[in-house]
Symmetry: D2
Subunit: 91 residues, 4 copies
């Protein structure tokens, strides 16, 4: 993937927002990755669970780092990363 400079896609999270400090930690991480995050869509699944879909665009390495950081947060039940090249950066 050396020649791919730009991807677009999303990181999907499911978590229980009642877990102590979870929301603050997730938001802090996202603010550290403003270079690849466009916006996030938040859906209240039920009283406890949230579905969060973070749209990303930019460096594939940064997108993977972001997904890894979010996945490691205690209380996050599910994480997936979906990426595709945007066509830019292909030799």
């Amino acid at each position: 993937m050396e020649k791919i400079k730009e991807v677009a896609g999303c990181v999907v999270l499911i978590y229980d927002h009642h877990k102590r400090d979870l929301l603050n930690v997730l938001t802090d991480i996202q603010h550290d990755f403003q270079n690849v995050i466009i916006s996030a869509q938040h859906i209240h699944l039920d009283h406890h669970n949230c579905l969060e879909i973070i749209a990303v665009k930019g460096s594939p390495i940064e997108a993977v780092k972001l997904a890894d950081r979010l996945k490691a947060v205690k209380g996050v039940r599910h994480t997936t990363l979906s990426m595709s090249t945007t066509g830019k950066g292909l030799a």
Copy 2:
């Protein structure tokens, strides 16, 4: 507005996510209004500030209550409510 049973629109918030407990309070309120909230879009404006756009559909009274509850949270700098009838519920 007695005969309007359903509206669609959004509540827009700007806040500093570093304020103590702000994220938890905003999320708790939103989970209490799942009957009118469809989803929320979150944009990281800069290191401190967040733009949150909550899409709503349902009772206009509930939508107003939601906006009032969010507006009253300490640390929320800006709140607007935009609603329109969806065509349903008009006599």
Copy 3:
């Protein structure tokens, strides 16, 4: 508003997506305003009607132009613009 260089907020639209060419026209306009549009949230209200919430950040003049262009499209039933300063650009 001379000294305000940056605002954040959204343009809200309600329209019938079955109207001829409406979707193409709305999308073309949005691609012309990529400098102020962050992302758009689309909700299918019923078989006919769509709620579209376009998150904007940048020049207030551009945001107003965008809202005006979208409002003028035939078939758009409702348009509102909600903006707030982000704190940048204030003297």
Copy 4:
């Protein structure tokens, strides 16, 4: 997957919005699947390309059908489906 009654996740699409009728076809399909679609996030990647992230919640079979229908549309360059159980419907 017989016992899983509810999943949450998203369908991710990348497409060129200039392709004839593409937007109408994609929107028509989405309106046929209102039972599983919560909302869709649309990002204008460049003058041609769009990233669309459709948040889904409900029957896993319906979510797969939706992804299949969208994937088959001429002009769609990339489709992924990401799903997770919400905890409901597990025996």
